[in-house]
Symmetry: C2
């Protein structure tokens, strides 16, 4: 006798493929849904189908969009000379939350990761270079993740952008250092090292 009936096993497997959902959680979610009744299942199933049908990628920046263009690219008040390069659409959300950035974004669709077989040609780098020329971008902020893959991608991009015709382009990176609200004692050596390296002169008055 198999442990679960086939439709239940398939449901558990489907949830288990989602990021951050282990086998135990997948089982718990599946039992929860079946116990909650068909209306709850229908609601989740519809939300998934609906989102997949309605959401696509912005033709300009590759952020998630409900139409051809994302709300940020469609917003005429954003500064087109400032372009922030991120790995994923969720990074756009993170930066938007700071309310500090008034430019546009370019979503690469990942980072260079040779172990996973992701090279520069799998990322939207050609599109980035084209946009820099077409849109009159003056500063590119490389906001890839502060891990090995992200750093490698930022390094690759900074080399890519050292080409004739882009001499006037400023290329910047997010600063590394201690997280705000963090404890010096608990910071890892890499972070603390970066914080030292990037130290700033404190403005003194009087």
């Amino acid at each position: 006798m198999p442990e679960y009936a086939a439709p239940l096993q398939e449901l558990i497997d489907a949830f288990g493929r989602l990021p951050g959902v282990g086998p135990k959680s997948a089982q718990r979610i599946a039992f929860h849904l079946l116990a909650a009744g068909p209306v709850e299942s229908q609601r989740l199933s519809d939300a998934i189908r609906h989102a997949a049908e309605r959401m696509s990628f912005c033709q300009r920046c590759f952020n998630l969009a409900e139409g051809a263009e994302c709300p940020i690219c469609a917003d005429a008040t954003r500064d087109v000379t400032l372009l922030c390069v991120v790995e994923e659409p969720r990074d756009v959300v993170a930066i938007e939350r700071t309310r500090e950035f008034k430019g546009r974004y370019h979503v690469l669709g990942g980072a260079i990761d040779h172990l996973k077989g992701i090279g520069p040609e799998q990322l939207r780098i050609a599109e980035l270079v084209r946009r820099i020329g077409d849109e009159g971008v003056r500063e590119v902020i490389l906001a890839t993740n502060p891990n090995i893959e992200g750093e490698m991608t930022a390094l690759y991009l900074s080399k890519m952008l050292e080409v004739p015709g882009l001499e006037d382009l400023t290329v910047t990176k997010l600063s590394s250092g201690l997280p705000v609200g963090g404890d010096l004692e608990y910071a890892d050596e890499m972070t603390l090292g970066r914080a030292l390296e990037g130290r700033r002169t404190v403005e003194r008055t009087g």
Copy 2:
């Protein structure tokens, strides 16, 4: 401008309603699905709908079943005189994994929880009493969870079964004590207290 487009926000909300999925995980899952493409979304949506359509509750024991009867109730080799009462279908799976139990189950559909408004009438207790008479059950094992609600439910059931006509029925409970592989040092006082209370004489030879 809302932070997410409506279909994306609805997807995040739908995942956030699942047990053990917090707002951050829900967001991560939603972005993952949209990045993975429509085939992946379709597969998950289909698995949910398919399971909801195909799975129902066993008419006899209220375990999850693909038809009118679950595989355990349909299995003629199981001992019908032994009935194990559990809260949820997932508890059946947990006990089946031990391969120690050869009787049948009765799934209550929860535990008495006055804070959540779940009283005995919301549980399948009338059905349990009927089965005990109809199926010639000789022992009822109360296998509710070892927490306040489960203990209260077990207590309620044991009182319920003290009625004329059921004098010959044996009512038992799972033993409480130290988990196998656990460390005495890390056991909480309640568990250690139960382990002491339920101590057994060690068989000595020679």
